[in-house]
């Protein structure tokens, strides 16, 4: 649905986006991930027709950004970072104005505004002015602004930045609800968010795409290593370490802490199905008391750090 080819943007001499290629198909939720200043916002601004690219091609459906910017803008609903809205307008007036500009027919306008107010939970603030709203409500009004014309594509720039945990969950739920039928591109630097909401993740660093794959594939690409944490009471540090190290497939044993008599050990292991079983059996043979025992795969965070760290 969206094709981005060799997209480049220079601010004077500074290269913000460097020959990016992206193909986004219909119904996909793509997370654009990257550290601050990586070029996420610039990329989204070019997609939405706000900035003109220095070079490269963007096409949405069959429209090119150079020739049919207006048609592309009709297809895309955009929530800019920190939702800049007119302060002096009432929420209702604002949505009404956006609905007009979006060309929603007069007789359907009111019902559409009501519908979107329900979806975004704006009913209690429709007659408040935007300047009185909390950050979370502003973000929701911004989301309503983006969705009012029921566009096929939604572009959300850090939709949850600056919100409290409850609000983050609410916004994510809205995104997931609408993501069932829409194509969504969202940028974020919160990894758990990308993991929770996106089908596909593109990691961008210094204007270049360094990884682009489905969320699962990206997590797997980090290698097959797993970490197992074992906490033991009543155990001698050295013997416990050497006992655990003797298990096949355990590559490394690292002591995490030794507080209040509980010894916490982190094992780096190659993947093996019955590994947990083997470790448990080992512990069972001794008189150690097992207080904690869990497995984690290498997280998105590690992959992100590896791909975007400064050299």
């Amino acid at each position: 649905m969206i094709h981005v080819k060799n997209l480049t943007k220079y601010y004077n001499d500074l290269c913000a986006v460097d020959r990016i290629n992206l193909n986004i198909s219909k119904g996909e939720i793509l997370g654009l991930l990257g550290p601050n200043g990586a070029g996420k916002t610039t990329t989204l601004r070019m997609l939405t027709g706000f900035y003109l690219p220095t070079s490269g091609e963007i096409s949405v459906k069959d429209y090119s950004i150079y020739d049919d910017a207006l048609e592309i803008k009709k297809l895309i609903g955009y929530l800019p970072e920190s939702a800049p809205l007119y302060h002096n307008m009432l929420v209702y007036d604002y949505l009404n104005y956006v609905a007009d500009i979006r060309g929603i027919e007069q007789d359907k306008k009111l019902s559409r505004i009501k519908e979107i107010a329900n979806l975004c939970g704006l009913n209690s603030i429709m007659h408040k002015s935007v300047s009185e709203l909390s950050k979370g409500f502003k973000q929701r009004v911004g989301l309503a602004h983006a969705m009012i014309s029921d566009p096929e594509i939604l572009v959300l720039d850090e939709p949850t930045s600056g919100l409290d945990p409850n609000q983050i969950v609410e916004i994510r739920e809205i995104i997931r609800k609408i993501g069932k039928e829409k194509t969504i591109i969202l940028s974020t630097h919160i990894l758990s968010e990308a993991e929770a909401t996106c089908d596909r993740i593109a990691i961008i660093n210094k204007g270049k795409i360094v990884a682009d794959d489905s969320t699962e594939a990206i997590k797997q690409s980090a290698g097959k290593e797993v970490f197992i944490t074992v906490s033991l009471k009543n155990a001698n540090t050295e013997t416990a370490k050497s006992e655990l190290n003797s298990i096949t497939n355990v590559k490394d044993v690292k002591q995490l802490s030794d507080s209040e008599g509980a010894l916490s050990i982190r094992l780096t292991c190659g993947s093996s199905n019955d590994l947990m079983e083997t470790i448990y059996k080992k512990v069972k043979q001794t008189d150690w008391i097992l207080t904690e025992f869990h497995k984690e795969t290498k997280s998105l965070e590690n992959i992100f750090r590896e791909l975007t760290k400064e050299n």
Partner: protein, 234 residues
């Protein structure tokens, strides 16, 4: 075109939502009324001459005050990003905002229509120059709006936008009264470039195409520059 109307409606309504409209209109009426009537009764003539002499100068202060926020505020709070990613072109935006400011400048003149009506009661008013004067006033309001809009497009600071707009408008309004300071060779050229000169022509009741062309050209140049400035920013 539809988009221009929507933007116009929003911007025009904005003036009346905030207290700006009422403050600007009342101060404008106080100032212009005071200046006009302080000399009106000495002259003992049933004419609006004194009013139209002051108008280009007074409007040079008030029109930039109503145009200063049009782009500056959008740039400052970042809302022009939401605006320009809606299906509108920069031309739609510039025209809509210009139309709103011009309409407001015209609305500002509405209460002054009571002057000719009052004067008609005192004496025999010649309506030709009055009608000409109001046509000229609407044109000069639109011209100043276009200039003010351009000033607003070049900065995110409303105060700077106001001062730049005011300086340009004030120069356009007053230089024709200071022609003695210019060398004789360029007097005609300078005169032709000022809004005051063309306005005085129209307010004599003679609507000449040259004067209309002058106002329309200044409006065109200012709006075109605003559009280029906004496009340059993105």
């Amino acid at each position: 075109m539809q988009q221009v109307i929507h933007i116009f409606k929003k911007e025009f309504k904005d003036y009346f939502i905030s207290p700006i409209a009422y403050i600007v209109i009342s101060i404008f009426l106080l100032v212009i009324g005071g200046l006009f009537f302080s000399s009106f009764f000495y002259n003992g003539q049933a004419s609006l001459r004194g009013f139209f002499i002051w108008l280009p100068i007074i409007m040079a202060f008030f029109v930039p005050a109503i145009t200063m926020r049009l782009f500056s505020e959008e740039i400052n709070i970042g809302s022009y990003e939401t605006l320009l990613t809606l299906p509108v072109t920069t031309l739609d935006v510039v025209l809509g905002k210009f139309a709103a400011a011009s309409a407001f400048a015209a609305a500002m003149l509405l209460p002054t229509l009571s002057y000719p009506i009052c004067i008609e009661m005192f004496g025999d008013l010649d309506w030709g120059p009055v009608i000409g004067g109001y046509v000229g006033a609407v044109l000069i309001g639109a011209t100043y709006s276009a200039v003010g809009l351009f000033a607003s497009a070049i900065t995110r600071n409303q105060i700077i936008a106001f001062i730049i707009g005011m300086v340009i408008c004030f120069a356009m309004g007053i230089i024709d009264k200071m022609l003695v300071f210019f060398p004789a060779v360029i007097v005609t050229i300078v005169e032709q470039l000022t809004a005051g000169f063309h306005f005085q022509n129209i307010s004599k009741g003679i609507i000449d195409l040259r004067d209309i062309v002058y106002f329309l050209s200044v409006i065109f140049i200012a709006l075109y520059s605003s559009r280029l400035t906004i496009e340059e920013k993105v």
